[in-house]
Each structure stands twice: as C-alpha cells, then as structure tokens.
C-alpha cells in the first residue's frame, strides 16, 4: 500500500482515550433491556453452553438473571466466576432467534463484558497487584485490542509476514521439527487450518475500483473487506468484487476502512468499537456509495449495530443510521437479483453451515441457501443443526479451545453424514474452523470447506 495515499488521521488509540474521557456515565447494565426477559426459558435448548453443561447459570436466561441481579443491587455477584461465565458464552446469539420477547442478548452480554473490564481497570488502578487481571492476559489484550486491530496497516503487515513465513517454508519446518509445540495448543492446531495467504505482490495489484462487466452500472457498492477476511481470504474478497461486477455493479475497495469493531465490542472494549465505527462511517461517507456490502457474517452483524452504539451521539447518531441502512451481506444482496448470469455448472453435493451472526444476528439464512440452490447442477443437503454454532465464535476457539473442539467434532459427524463434498460457510471464523474440522475428522480430499462466494465465482 502506498503511504502517500493515506489521509491524515487521528490515532485511533488516542480517539479511544477521548471516548473514555467523554463518557460521563459509569459503565453499567441496560436495566430496561434486562427487564424484557420474562424468564420463559425458551432460549435454553438453543444455547450451546446450556446444552453441554445442563446448568442454568450457563444459559442465556441464567446469565440475564445474574446481570439483572447485579443491576438491581446484588453487587457481590460481580466475581471472577461471573466474568468467566460471561466469557464462556460463545456469543452466537442463537438465543435471540429463540426468544419470544425479542431480548437483544448479544448487546447484554457485551454490556456485561464492558462492566467486567471497567471493574478490572478500576481494580488495577486501585492496587499494584490486581487479582483479576494476569500480566499475560493484560499483554495479550493490549496487543489485540490496542496495538493490532485498531490499525489496518498493521494487520496488512501481519498478512505479509504470514506469507513470508509460508513462502520460506518456515511453517513446514516448524511443523516437522516440533517447533510448533512451543506455540500454545490452540494456535498450533489452528495454524494447520490457515490457508495459503496471498503474496504481497498480489495484494499490491488490487484494483481500488472494479467496474461493472455488464456495460451499464446498476449502482456503486462500497466493499467492506473485513480484516481477518482480507488477510486470510484475500482471494475470496477479490472474487466477491468480481462477482459483483459481473452482476453489474461498480465495486470500490474503500480506503481507510477499519476493523468493524466486533472483536472489541465482544470483549468489553466498547470504547474501541465506537472509535472504529466512527472511522468506518467517515470512510464510507467519503466513498459516496449506494450500498456497503460485506461477506463476513460477524462483521456484518457488527456494522448493523453502529446505529445502536452511537444512538446518543449528537454528531454520529443520524450518520450511523444512514450507514446501517446501506449495509448488506453478500448473500442478502445477491439473492433478490433475478438475472444472475450463470455461465457454468457445479455437479456436486454441498451443505451449508450458518454463520451465527449472519443467521441469529442479522436474520439471514434463507438467502445463502436460495443462492446455492440456483447454481446449475448443485445438490444442496441441509445440515442438521446448521443454525447451531460451530465453536469458532470469534476468538473462542483460542480462548476456550477444549470446549470449542468438542462442539466442532460433533458438528463434523453431522457434516460427514450429509456426504457433501463442500461445506459452505459465510464468515472467515467459521471457514477457518471448518477447515480445522475437516483436518480433525480426517476428511481431507473428501470434503472442502469454502466460502459461498468461492462457489458462486466458479459459475458466474
């Protein structure tokens, strides 16, 4: 990327500090939202951690009851045990689909994590040796939330580093020599599932504007690339732009777009999420686009939260609403288009694993299935419990490795039973997890995990 192209911007870290200072109110629970839970328990069977443990406190109803308890004065409930429980939740939001009362559980659990992190900061400030935040944890959080994901350029550099490592065969070397054992088990396992990343030269060759291949333009799409997606699945992003152009849209890779903020919001760092939201709103306003299309369920769900995150902000509130109104998932965007110019066929059996934040967070599950069924030659077999989380859940497969792998192994038994040769996903986290699942289940060569765009690009 060319440095001269970069517009002058405020350091996101500084803007976070400003967010923190400007917040006059203490970090607290949203009691009104908590009150909407009528404790009917309809969420229980939908919850992966309740199904696994059979324990009420690990259900959405239980977690909400605990939050409500704290919000109404039972402050002694704010313990390490509570914090672990809130981070044990996968954040899959399957309970929101099951909830008759329309409780925004995802927001509540994010709020609880905000309270936990604010509490830890307070404790850390009050004492030299905070009990609840280990040095290691602090360093990791610091790197992930302050040093890395706030800066797109650094993520880009990480992608390049990964390519060099793969190009020089360091990974194989490390694998063979057992050097990989030095890595923590979750990361060592996951690196096997990481795809071959695009070369720096390939990245540099990206065209910032891909124009319609249909003569006339149906509109101008701003493409939200997503940071993990753009590092690990750069080619899928290129294909997304290509598919959109074949359908008749001009596609802009919007400069200065940032991480969507999901990682921060899910981890009690809402200040970071809000700073990133503002950055994205500005970037896409400048790009002057009709739609903001993304191909990552997790990012999309987060982008749609901007209006909620910024609802009380006098400067950004209305702009956030306008931004959200333009957000579309790629399947949601393509499915209503009647004249998709299919060129080829795909004679294969495929199955689809929902992205939780696409299905439960954005209510999009018919569209990807409808698109797949329209591919000439394809047979779509519904995966039982496709709407249930694969265990990837953001960084859950690193932070809660064992539980994540138990969920994944169960999922792969069902995948195998469909006899599909492709397991189709709609989010990078799910895709890495499914790739890992294929390896764990010994299905290499029989089943390939792909993004829905990877298939559409072959036939459009």
């Amino acid at each position: 990327m060319n440095t001269s192209m970069e517009t002058k911007q405020i350091d996101p870290f500084l803007s976070i500090e400003r967010e923190k200072k400007s917040a006059s109110h203490a970090v607290t629970f949203d009691l009104d939202e908590l009150m909407n839970c009528m404790r009917c328990g309809f969420c229980l069977p939908s919850c992966p951690t309740y199904r696994e443990t059979g324990k009420e406190m690990f259900s959405p109803r239980g977690r909400i009851a605990l939050m409500k308890g704290m919000a109404t004065g039972n402050t002694s409930l704010l313990s390490d045990e509570f914090a672990q429980n809130m981070y044990m939740c996968l954040g899959c939001r399957a309970c929101e689909t099951a909830c008759p009362a329309g409780v925004h559980y995802g927001r509540l659990v994010e709020g609880a994590r905000d309270v936990i992190e604010a509490h830890k900061r307070k404790e850390a400030a009050a004492s030299d040796q905070p009990l609840t935040l280990t040095r290691k944890e602090r360093i990791i959080r610091d790197i992930v939330y302050k040093k890395l994901f706030l800066y797109p350029k650094r993520i880009d550099r990480m992608g390049k580093g990964l390519w060099w490592m793969q190009a020089l065969g360091l990974q194989t070397f490390a694998d063979r020599t057992g050097l990989m054992h030095i890595l923590p088990k979750p990361l060592a396992n996951m690196q096997k599932a990481v795809p071959k990343v695009a070369s720096p030269r390939r990245r540099k060759a990206r065209q910032p504007l891909v124009t319609s291949k249909r003569g006339v333009s149906r509109g101008r799409v701003g493409f939200f690339t997503g940071c993990v997606m753009d590092v690990l699945f750069f080619e899928t992003n290129e294909k997304t732009a290509r598919v959109l152009s074949k359908v008749g849209y001009d596609v802009v890779f919007v400069k200065e777009q940032a991480c969507c903020g999901a990682l921060h919001a899910h981890s009690g760092e809402s200040y970071g999420a809000i700073a990133l939201a503002k950055q994205n709103i500005e970037a896409f306003e400048r790009a002057n686009v009709d739609f903001i299309v993304n191909n990552a369920g997790g990012c999309g769900a987060s982008l749609r939260e901007y209006a909620h995150w910024l609802q009380d902000d006098p400067n950004y509130g209305e702009r956030a609403k306008a931004f959200v109104a333009k957000v579309r998932d790629i399947s949601e965007f393509l499915a209503p288009i009647d004249d998709l110019p299919f060129q080829g066929t795909l004679d294969a059996t495929v199955t689809f694993q929902d992205s939780c934040h696409l299905r439960h967070g954005q209510g999009i599950y018919r569209q990807p299935r409808a698109l797949l069924e329209r591919i000439p030659g394809i047979t779509l077999v519904e995966l039982p419990h496709a709407d249930s989380c694969c265990g990837s859940a953001g960084i859950y497969n690193i932070t809660n490795f064992d539980r994540s792998m138990r969920i994944l192994d169960d999922k792969m038994i069902e995948v195998k039973a469909t006899k599909a040769s492709y397991i189709v996903t709609a989010n990078p986290g799910c895709l890495v997890q499914m790739r890992q699942g294929v390896v764990r289940a010994g299905l290499q060569g029989q089943v390939e995990a792909v993004h829905i765009i990877d298939l559409l690009d072959r036939v459009l």
Binding site: D32, M35, N36, M38, R39, C40, G41, F42, L44, P45, G54, K55, E56, M57, G62, A65, L66, G69, N74, S76, L77, S79, E81, F82, N85, P100, A101, G102
Partner: protein, 476 residues
C-alpha cells in the same frame, strides 16, 4: 449450609454436580413466574434414583427443604425455593427408556424434555397429546408435577389422562412405584393420580410410564372472526352440541389480536371482537366431514368471516396467531403476568366480559386469549414490576378475576398449578374441609414438611397475586 452436610451431599452426587457458589445458587432462585425469587442453599443435579434416595435421607435427617425442578418453566412459582434448602435439578436424568409398541406406552426419566418425547414417539407413528406452550423446554417430570395442559385438552385431555405409572422417592428416602403398563389396575388407592399435579409437595418423581395413542392421520385448520364475543362462545357450544369435538378450539380477544398483528402481520381484521382457531384431526374422511359441519356452525352462530387452511403449512400459519400470542404480548411491556382462570365452557363469554370490566375498573391492561373449548382462559396483564402502585392494582384485579371465575362455577387455575401464585386462593375452590384433608394427605407423605414448603398451602391469610421480590437468607 452446614459444611458437614455439604460434604455428605458431595459424596453422594460428586462435587461437579453439587453447586453452592453465590452465582450458581442465584441462577436457581427463580422460575418463569414473574416477581418471585428466593435463594436455595445448594443445587444438586442427580444422575439416578438411588442418589435422590440418599439425598432425601440426608434432607430428612437435617430437616432441609427439597425443591425438585426440571427446566423451571412453570408459571405459578412452583419451583422457587421459598425456604431455601436443596434444589434438585433433574436435567441429567433425561433417558427415554422404552417405547412399548405392543402396550402403547413410553417409560422415561423425569428430566426428559417434552418435545423430545413427542419427536421419538411420533417417529414410530404414535402420539403423546399434551402440548403445553413450553414443550420445547419443559421436562416431563415438570409436566406431571404440574399436570400441564395445552391446546389439545378439549379432545385429548391433559397430562393426568396419560400418566399410567410413576416411580417416586418419598421424603424418608424410600423408593416407591405405583401403576404401570396395565390398562386396568385398581390395586389400592390411585397414588399415581395423586402425584400428578402434586407440585413436588409430596415426593420426588423420578420415572414415568405414559399412555400413547396412534398418531392421527391428518389435520385441518379453520379460522373464524366474530363481532361479538358472545357469538364466538355460541359457536363453541354449537359444535359440542352437534357432538363434534375438535382437537383444538382456541380464541383471541380483540386486544390480543391487535398486539399479535402488530408483531407479525397476518392480515387479521382488527375491528372484530374475537377470533376462533379450530383444528380437527383424525382419519381424512372424518376430518373432511367435521370441517364442513364446523364451517356451517361457525356461520350460523354469526361469524363475519370463516376460512379453511388449504394445507398444513397455511394451517400452521393461522395457528401461529395463537402460538405467538404470548410472545407478542411479552414485547409490549417489561412484565407480563399470565394467569389461567378457568370456567365451564358454557360460561366463556360471561367470563371474558367480566375480565374486561375488572380490567377497566382497576385501570390495568389485560389481554385475554386461551382455550375456548375447555373454558381455560389466559387473562394476561401487561405491566412493569418497577411500578409498585400499578402492581398493587394488578393484584386487586386478579383477585377479583379469580372470585369471578369461582362465582361462574370455575376454578382458580386450569393448568399452571397453585404454587405460590394461587396458594392464597386455593380455599376459594376447595373450601375449609377440603383444605384440611389436603393438609392431612400432605402430612402423611411428608411429616416434617420438607417437600417444597410454602407451596399449595398459604402461610398467611392475606390474599395477593404478586409479592415483592422474595429475598430469602438461609443458613450460612
């Protein structure tokens, strides 16, 4: 709780299934009933009946209250541990032991989820009719303990009509079994029936044998709209008089229709006072015949509009108006109080009129829907528990509704159970002598009063529907 007792309990069930941290106990301090909460001292998740027997022996010796609990979906405060003690969470005992296709019975542990039983028996062409609204979550043990009803009560009856045998543990730890697979069995008192609906106040139910029916071949759904509630009630009476018993015969009043329509637009005509949803099942030829007669009876009783669903899919869409009723109502206000006053079906219209009069009088928001065919109404109050002044009026309104139901020959609870919520009204229904007999039955099972104390029998005379958050501090 005493450390020595905790050690004993851990030795019985294993430390992983004996939960006593503040967070763990807090998560078992409530059920689905609004406004009630009380902390248990410990929660145990037993794996088998022998464990429960051992736990009850310990509890008996130390006079520790026992509250057995499935998924905690009841609406009468039945599983709130009012006096602390041990909550037995039955989630680990969920095995379906047998479907006997010769005797048409199913035998299972009490923690089995109702919907799982439905799925398994339907897979072999059999049918377990009771379908409480919470069936996807609720356990069969909970259904039996509360005698759950549902939408098929009119034709098929309720839980008590299907329980043939029960295994239970008495407070002293003895394991007893009554009934079984025999279609005819008059060996002694019918303790099986007594335990159904006993709300955990007599024994812990551990295993159930249920009667099954052949799965009906087909079903059809009809929807009818009325300008007057009285006309809808006339249609109900006309069907029964014509000897037609539909599988489901449900109604929504105008207020409920408006809320449902706002939640999921189905195109309901909102100027109507009531709608009836009628579903008939059985052999195709019989169902066709019934549908024709039901249609004409709906029209002659004054229906403004009557429609028959083309197929199952459309039928389900129509029924969703009824299924979504509570969901839709729950979104209107933070607190939703759902009651189940019941009257003989001939008094349905009168009761609805009474409810509306009472709601107006106290200035509270009550929508009514429910099971028209069996007179089981669900007057549902939309309120906010933080508004104590309004809650006071809600309390008074419900008290009057229960009195009205009794005056019309009805009962204070049709299918939710007495628990805490209706304990103050039980004597209205069964009288002083009846109460005394029930207390003696209770004492015969549970001489030390450790089984779900505070339920069924009110401790003080003041009648009230709702109580303020009931914080219980026990032991420590």
């Amino acid at each position: 709780m005493d450390k020595e007792v905790l050690r004993e309990l851990r030795a019985i069930s294993g430390a992983a299934y004996v939960l006593d941290s503040e967070m763990e106990r807090y998560a078992y301090s409530y059920d689905s009933t609004p406004l009630y909460r009380a902390m248990p001292d410990v929660v145990i998740q037993p794996a088998e009946v022998k464990e429960i027997a051992a736990i009850l022996k310990v509890a008996s010796r130390h006079r520790i209250p026992i509250v057995s609990r499935g998924s905690g979906t009841n609406l009468s405060g039945g599983t709130v541990p009012l006096e602390g003690g041990i909550v037995l969470h039955m989630s680990r005992m969920h095995q379906l032991k047998e479907i006997d296709t010769d005797n048409l019975t199913a035998t299972f542990e009490s923690g089995l989820i109702t919907a799982d039983l439905h799925r398994e028996v339907e897979a072999v062409g059999l049918f377990y009719p009771p379908d409480p609204g919470s069936l996807r979550v609720s356990t069969m043990g909970g259904n039996v303990a509360e005698c759950a009803g549902g939408m098929r009560g009119l034709k098929y009856g309720v839980t008590k009509d299907y329980v043939m045998g029960i295994q239970a543990v008495l407070p002293d730890g003895s394991i007893v079994s009554f009934g079984g697979k025999n279609a005819k069995d008059v060996a002694g008192y019918d303790i099986t029936r007594l335990l159904v609906g006993s709300e955990g106040t007599l024994a812990v139910i551990t295993e159930i044998t249920a009667k099954l029916l052949p799965l009906p071949e087909t079903k059809r759904t009809i929807i009818a709209f009325y300008r007057e509630m009285v006309d809808a009630a006339k249609a109900v009476s006309a069907m029964i008089a014509a000897r037609i018993i539909p599988a489901s015969l449900e109604f929504l009043d105008q207020k409920t229709m408006k809320v449902v329509e706002a939640y999921t637009p189905l195109g309901l005509p909102l100027d109507m006072a009531a709608m009836l949803l009628i579903q008939q099942d059985g052999p195709a030829s019989q169902v066709e015949q019934d549908v024709e007669r039901i249609l004409s009876l709906c029209k002659t009783s004054g229906a403004v509009q009557v429609d028959v669903a083309k197929d199952d899919e459309e039928g389900e869409k129509l029924m969703s108006a009824r299924r979504n009723a509570l969901s839709a109502l729950a979104r209107v206000k933070p607190t939703t109080i759902l009651e189940d006053a019941t009257v003989p079906r001939s008094r349905l219209a009168q009761m609805v009129t009474e409810i509306n009069r009472i709601a107006d009088h106290y200035g509270v928001d009550i929508c009514t829907f429910g099971h028209a065919g069996d007179g089981n109404l669900h007057p549902t109050c939309l309120t906010d528990e933080r508004d104590t002044e309004e809650i006071e009026r809600v309390e008074q309104a419900f008290a009057e509704i229960f009195h009205a139901a009794i005056r019309l020959g009805g009962t204070v609870t049709g299918e939710h159970g007495v628990g805490i919520a209706k304990a103050k009204y039980l004597d209205l229904k069964i009288g002083e002598a009846g109460m005394e007999l029930m207390k003696r039955v209770k004492a015969a099972f549970d001489p030390h009063g450790i089984m779900n104390p505070g339920k069924m029998f009110a401790k003080d005379a003041r009648r009230r529907v709702v109580i303020q958050t009931h914080e219980h501090v026990h032991g420590n």
